[in-house]
Symmetry: C2
Subunit: 437 residues, 2 copies
């Protein structure tokens, strides 16, 4: 059997991980493919830095087109990141009838449809397992494992950096800034980690999951995003008293003509399987109409784990090439062409239970004023904690509500924030994953 | 595109689930395959009972050979269970060049190699996703998602019935017998649920996972098995005091020339992701050399979830047929023929930490005698609970040890059980998943 030749564009963290696996696990991969899978060329602007991998220097080039135009290369892996150049390279490779593997979540979330259509038009495979959940084979689970199901909902912890920060705030009571600095010092976060903590990175991955799960691309810009930077350790402690922990969740639900799509901090019952997803781990919880709930958990980032996903795509494509097949499963796992983008339900229309933390003056009658305003909006209170202890100069009043509509909560908050007995903005966190038992 | 025709042998729980999905999600399946997937014939000895599915009566037959010999059928699903007849039917179908899908874990665990070899010889696909973990696409994760990795270890909660029983004992403090009766009453367990609670069912599934993960069949009879029927609620309560819960675990590790393979109750730290796998849920935790730890969670049994796995295999095979491919991935995901069975490490050689519950008379000096014997065998004690309260007429002394060798523990137990200050057999539970934090 002729070897399968790989070309790699981008020799950074993920590229180096993929190269390391292709070299280290060469025998396993040959055994699983039935042919050798060989690195034919690696392009990067920096071909000097030592990546700790022993490699024939002649494989390296600074010219990506030398990968894209090499007639012997079967599979091109775009692992450079960024959107403009990466997109141009992927399209050029597809037009050269190369199969493509990419880990580029921002590119797929924002311009995926163009790439999916090009891959279909040129009848090549496009693998992007590494774009969501790092080493977790969650796209394969959606595209193949749950293929008999209508997917109903998705709940993901999709950003390892923010999950690490929340874990440290939860387990050690650290303040947000301290936990962020620790994550930066340990190399888990960039400095500053803006796209991780503001929900953008998780929203990119959610957009990709939605495309496959529901078969429709979504307008990325319409995904609701709220970050974790306003949380204080006391919110996490109060959540614990109610039987919840706080996670940055990416959520979606199929509503038929629309989808729910949002990323924000949320309270999750401590006995929910998602509650034990800690440190830099990711997890995706998905419900199918027949499978019921399933969950996929693992390392959401890092050279080795992301490399594992990249190489699994190469192996899948190599197995197809060996059988003379170009495209076994279309990019979004649906044989019909991708449909026009589906509309996202406005966040104001989403119903959830809520956690509120009010900062109040220490006077009688405050609770009655707050609950009066909530009652006027039809928001019903499930439980209250008020202990009289001071927090940042005020008395915290903490509430869990029953399910309420986003727009009603916003109306109530506008009125509440005008009350002179409240000394600071009210903290609002949605409750997901059912009630704590 | 010509439709793909399905024949089903066995119209029991799983068969009915698969039929229901093929009918209910017909449009989704057509869309994902690019062709209609049609039920052509269903064989069962009982073709009278109403399965609650509206179906053309002409599809039903009592003669399995009418499925196996139908030249228009592409995929035969063996969903009848049992080993002898099921094996004969599968082999006959393979010899007729039919692709086969099965959910039959006992058959695969005990005679899998014969079936895998037949499928390879006749160049047909053999799908068995439903045999492990019900609706969880864990075999697909191993065969494809983690294909770039050398799998290092497996830790599974593979039997939903025993997990339900343990969950009820843990959350409600129920005695074993009461929890079993409840599981029977709710339809989660057969009466008596012998193969579920004694570890046999989990061992069947472990054998299948090992075959794919390490590429070697294992001698099923050599897998160490210990059931959950000796556990008392107090063991679970003591485990909780140490920061652990008790699960029936199926465990394996690649040792190079041998594998570890064992099923027994084990203590798991409460902050481990496996600790929140409750009720009738299953989960499989696997470590790859590059992916790191990954976990797959969902419903391990039931008509709908198991049906979901069966139909996902049909879809995978149908996608291949559509492209003119017979066998994209061999049964064990390795292109070389299955190798001879690998040896299982004797349980005596396995090292783990341990929980001991001694039933002692209420006299001074008991602890010193016990710890003396443990010390002689080099077993070092990590923590002790002795509270003086009576349990079944004796005083319980509970210990956690550091890692110790199975044979040393057995020697110590032999000596301990001869002590006249111990009034009952000592309860022994291994500790897995690291130390509780």
């Amino acid at each position: 059997m002729q070897p399968i030749n790989i070309g790699i564009i981008g020799f950074g963290t993920v590229g180096a991980g993929a190269v390391e696996i292709l070299l280290n696990n060469k025998d396993i991969i040959r055994n699983r493919v039935g042919a050798d899978v060989i690195i034919r060329r690696i392009a990067d602007l920096d071909i000097q830095t030592d990546r700790g991998i022993s490699l024939d220097k002649d494989l390296l080039t600074t010219d990506a087109m030398k990968v894209i135009n090499d007639p012997d290369i079967h599979i091109v892996a775009e692992l450079m990141g960024g959107t403009d150049k990466a997109k141009a390279y992927i399209l050029a490779a597809i037009q050269n009838k190369k199969h493509v593997v990419t880990a580029n979540k921002a590119l797929l979330a924002e311009h995926g449809n163009e790439l999916y259509q090009a891959a279909e038009a040129y009848q090549v495979s496009l693998g992007f397992e590494a774009s969501v959940g790092g080493g977790i084979p969650v796209l394969r689970a959606l595209r193949e494992g749950l293929s008999a199901n209508r997917i109903q909902s998705i709940m993901g912890i999709l950003n390892g950096t923010s999950n690490y920060i929340l874990t440290r705030m939860t387990q050690k009571g650290l303040a947000y800034d301290i936990a962020v600095q620790e994550a930066i010092d340990l190399g888990y976060a960039e400095d500053p980690p803006t796209l991780d903590v503001d929900g953008t990175d998780a929203a990119h991955k959610l957009a990709i999951l939605i495309s496959i799960a529901f078969g429709h691309p979504v307008p990325f810009g319409d995904i609701y995003r709220q970050g974790i930077d306003q949380l204080i350790p006391e919110d996490i402690a109060f959540a614990g008293e109610f039987g919840y922990c706080i996670k940055l969740l990416a959520l979606s639900r199929d509503l038929g003509d629309r989808v729910e799509a949002r990323v924000h901090p949320a309270m999750v019952p401590t006995d929910h399987i998602m509650a034990n997803v800690n440190e830099a781990y990711n997890a995706i919880y998905m419900e199918g109409d027949f499978s019921g709930p399933t969950l996929y958990y693992g390392l959401g980032a890092g050279r080795k784990a992301t490399g594992s996903a990249v190489v699994s795509d190469m192996i899948a494509i190599a197995r197809q090439i060996r059988q003379g097949v170009n495209t076994l499963i279309p990019p979004l796992a649906h044989v019909r062409s991708p449909e026009p983008a589906v509309t996202i339900q406005p966040i104001d229309e989403v119903n959830t239970a809520y956690y509120f933390r009010f900062s109040a003056v220490d006077k009688p009658g405050v609770l009655s004023k707050i609950s009066g305003i909530l009652g006027e909006q039809g928001i019903s209170i499930a439980s209250v904690i008020q202990k009289g202890r001071k927090l940042l100069g005020s008395v915290p009043i903490v509430m869990l509500t029953h399910e309420a509509k986003g727009s009603h909560v916003n109306k109530a908050l506008t009125q509440l924030n005008q009350l002179d007995v409240l000394t600071d903005k009210t903290m609002v966190i949605r409750v997901e994953g059912g009630e704590s038992t």
